[in-house]
């Protein structure tokens, strides 16, 4: 023990660092894709990306953030491709020239979950707006992400559709968690509150307690995913060719089929709708 052993230990650790597979840092054929946490949490990428790599040899590295952050990452040029679900914002930034080559890829939907006891009596309704109206009228507890995510934006739009300006009309019944989808569902489960959740997170959520899906299928609950290339004119370092391959694969027959095949517990999550 002592000097020589210490030295040997240090060399061993350094060797471990050098030899252990440095994950594809040396490999050039990769792209950075910014996407959202709810997409990542659904497990879709675990399913899709190996298929993409097998088809093209390209490794797609996904950084999952909130929608706003993901788009911002693209604007700053820290990603090559952006894959989010806020069509309104996407189109604005496309217009501003930050992105090019946008394609619709797929839709998924939100579900309105709540306690089985359903104090606001929304089960059986088809209109999400009407359901929210009933929740508001009954002042039933409602858990909101309140984190400026795509899901939160969709929730706010639904309140507006119900004629409610939630920002000014909320009360103690409206719980703003400021958290991700899983954390918000945890809180809803603990409080027996209603919540709007993307189907992917709902299907993987293991802590349901008394919660169940009470309303689904309203067209307004559908969520359009789009993919865009970061504009090489603004950021010359963008991997244009590789990025376009990713986009083209997503909208190709093969990619669209891969999306449709993804299931959680036997249920499909995403519905491919790329225009031919």
């Amino acid at each position: 023990m002592g000097g020589r052993t210490t030295l040997a230990l240090i060399v061993a650790v350094a060797a471990l660092g050098a030899v252990a597979p440095a994950p594809a840092v040396a490999q050039e054929r990769f792209i950075t894709v910014s996407s959202t946490t709810s997409t990542e949490n659904s497990g879709l990428f675990r399913h899709l990306l190996p298929l993409f790599r097998a088809a093209t040899g390209i490794e797609a590295r996904v950084v999952a953030l909130g929608t706003g952050q993901a788009l911002d990452m693209g604007r700053r040029g820290d990603a090559d491709v952006v894959f989010v679900h806020d069509k309104a914002k996407e189109l604005v930034m496309l217009e501003e020239g930050w992105f090019v080559g946008r394609r619709d890829v797929m839709v998924n939907d939100f579900v309105l979950a709540g306690p089985r006891s359903d104090p606001a009596r929304i089960a059986g309704l088809r209109d999400a707006g009407a359901a929210l109206r009933r929740i508001y009228d009954a002042r039933s507890p409602f858990a909101s992400r309140a984190d400026r995510s795509g899901t939160h934006a969709a929730e706010v739009r639904l309140w507006q559709a119900a004629g409610i300006d939630i920002a000014s009309q909320k009360g103690p019944w409206y719980r703003e968690t400021g958290s991700g989808m899983g954390a918000t569902l945890n809180i809803a489960s603990a409080m027996n509150a209603y919540a709007l959740a993307d189907r992917g997170t709902w299907l993987s959520f293991r802590n349901r307690g008394e919660l169940a899906v009470l309303l689904e299928g309203d067209l307004r609950l559908f969520n359009q995913y789009g993919v865009m290339l970061v504009n090489p004119a603004k950021h010359p370092h963008v991997k244009q060719a590789l990025g376009m391959q990713f986009i083209e694969w997503l909208v190709s027959a093969e990619g669209q089929r891969a999306i449709a095949e993804y299931r959680i517990g036997g249920e499909p999550l995403f519905f491919p709708n790329a225009a031919r």
Binding site: M1, G2, G180
Partner: protein, 231 residues
């Protein structure tokens, strides 16, 4: 709780390759950061302990304060440096393990330097007269002391390792928690928590704690053996 514990054991026992990859990456990043921070921080702390210059006390206070740097702030700063829009964007280091090592090194450096400074200053009061009598210059004395109290310095290094392996803010921001590329134990735990899979998150946490415990136990035994040998 018990479910999480058995899930943790199940994870370890099944040698899940995904988990193995995450553990290896966590160790690589944190150990590299600690090695780098030690290489810089130990001589820095020693020099600060031994040298006398105007403003020395202000530097010591600042260094001590930097021990409490919030990881997320360091992550943000490094992100801005390495982002394409930033000064070092050309290097393309963002979202790689290298960026994570850089961030953690910056985080851990003040801890190691400040603790080393304290240890060496304490030793200096014992050794100073004798070393100066032998004609040893300040810089030389600093290095001599570094080597002489090396096993006490191990505590400083372990403090740094603890910080590095426990933090999530810095590596999340500069690494991006990319599956298979920059996902480490702490970011994996954060992810599973946000997905609502608390048992898995807890299980991963137990695995992480077990690893850090093992490292500390090994270091402690090493130190004991050395002290028995060298007095």
């Amino acid at each position: 709780m018990r479910g999480a514990f058995s899930e943790a054991l199940g994870l370890i026992g099944s040698f899940d390759p995904g988990l193995a990859g995450i553990i290896v990456l966590s160790l690589e990043v944190s150990l590299s950061a600690v090695l780098l921070a030690s290489a810089i921080g130990l001589p820095l702390g020693a020099a600060l302990a031994v040298a006398r210059f105007p403003g020395r006390r202000a530097v010591i206070v600042a260094l001590n304060a930097l021990m409490g740097l919030p990881p997320v702030v360091v992550g943000l700063a490094v992100y801005l440096l390495l982002s394409r829009a930033g000064p070092l964007g050309e290097l393309g280091l963002l979202f790689t393990p290298v960026a994570m090592v850089i961030a953690q090194t910056l985080l851990v450096l003040p801890i190691i330097a400040a603790l080393a400074r304290q240890a060496i200053e304490d030793a200096w009061s014992e050794y100073e007269e004798q070393l100066r009598s032998l004609g040893v210059g300040e810089f030389d004395a600093a290095l001599t002391l570094l080597w002489d109290i090396r096993f006490s310095l191990l505590t400083a290094v372990l403090a740094g390792l603890g910080r590095a392996s426990a933090e999530v803010g810095a590596v999340m921001i500069v690494g991006g928690n990319i599956d298979g590329v920059t996902r480490v134990m702490t970011t994996a735990i954060a992810l599973e928590t946000s997905k609502g899979d608390l048992p898995l998150a807890l299980a991963l946490g137990m695995v992480l704690i077990a690893i850090v415990l093992a490292l500390n136990a090994a270091a402690f035994l090493l130190k004991e053996a050395a002290q028995r040998r060298y007095g």
